[in-house]
């Protein structure tokens, strides 16, 4: 690595132009997002298998999901995707302060999601709806513990992604504030935004699966 500051317009030696370098970065990001989706695929398949095996237990267990908090979080994440898209649009118009502003709003929405998730977890754990053999709630059909174990695994893995996304957005906000993104060159911002949208995409499926399927 050279000691010069790497900006969005630095062309690495293996590329003959900044356009080609950015094109490669975008394809790389989409490949990363694709493999990231497959990370969730195993758990989704497991959920499918157990839901088919224990339909009554899963219905009964889903009755205890906090549909109110889950739904608020759905609107929060959908809106955060809009604000991230607006941050990118602001950069394309050369509006640096608006970019930083929209990124900060997105970070706040992401943090709101995480806080509500923690409230939800605390509530479930308090009521004995824990995972694995820590499950102490009574009165549910056999197999209900599987719903809760998968609920924690799926939403936990997703919440980790939200948290990682917040860190990415914070990094982007700092970079944007220092003028790292120009209307012509902002591929890092593009890729960070794509990551955030993927987090939204995953939740779009988790919400009906875990909260609405009764």
């Amino acid at each position: 690595m050279s000691h010069s500051v790497v900006t969005s317009t630095t062309v690495n030696s293996q590329y003959d132009s900044i356009e080609r370098q950015h094109a490669t970065a975008r394809v790389g990001m989409w490949l990363f997002l694709s493999s990231e989706s497959l990370l969730f695929a195993g758990l989704l398949a497991l959920f499918t298998a157990y839901r088919i095996s224990y339909p009554i237990a899963f219905h009964a267990a889903a009755e205890h999901a906090n549909i109110m908090l889950g739904t608020i979080n759905t609107y929060v994440l959908l809106t955060s995707s809009l604000t991230v898209a607006l941050a990118l649009a602001a950069t394309e118009r050369g509006r640096r302060r608006a970019t930083v502003g929209w990124l900060l709003v997105s970070i706040a929405l992401g943090a709101t999601f995480d806080v509500l998730k923690i409230v939800e977890y605390a509530q479930h754990l308090h009521e004995g709806f824990a995972f694995g053999h820590y499950f102490t709630a009574t009165g549910l059909p056999q197999g209900a513990v599987l719903y809760f174990t998968l609920y924690y695994l799926l939403t936990g893995l997703h919440a980790l992604h939200v948290t990682a996304g917040i860190i990415v957005l914070a990094y982007l906000a700092v970079r944007a504030r220092h003028g790292a993104f120009t209307p012509e060159s902002h591929v890092v911002l593009e890729c960070g935004a794509l990551y955030w949208h993927l987090v939204d995409l995953v939740w779009i499926f988790l919400w009906p699966m875990l909260y609405l399927l009764r």
Binding site: A23, L44, I52, T71, A85, F205, P208, Y211, R214
Partner: protein, 87 residues
Amino acid sequence: MKRYFLTWLALVALATLSLFVSGTSIALSLAIAAIKAALVAAFFMHLWDSRPIHRIAFIAAVAFIVLLILGVAGDVGTRDLAGPYVP
């Protein structure tokens, strides 16, 4: 800009719709989710007007996830393997 707001409005409307139809059909809830996901991918993630290679990369992953889930569902759903669960 306007496209982003319209996409968001559609997403909020579809989310509200799935709240109202929740409990009627799993397939319906998941179909609404698929439409929402398509909207996010197409407009927020710009797959609608980006290079085909981006679409190929992502659609391939989605296709394999669907294949995996359908395969598992078909398998578990057609045999009587799951006995009573013993914690």
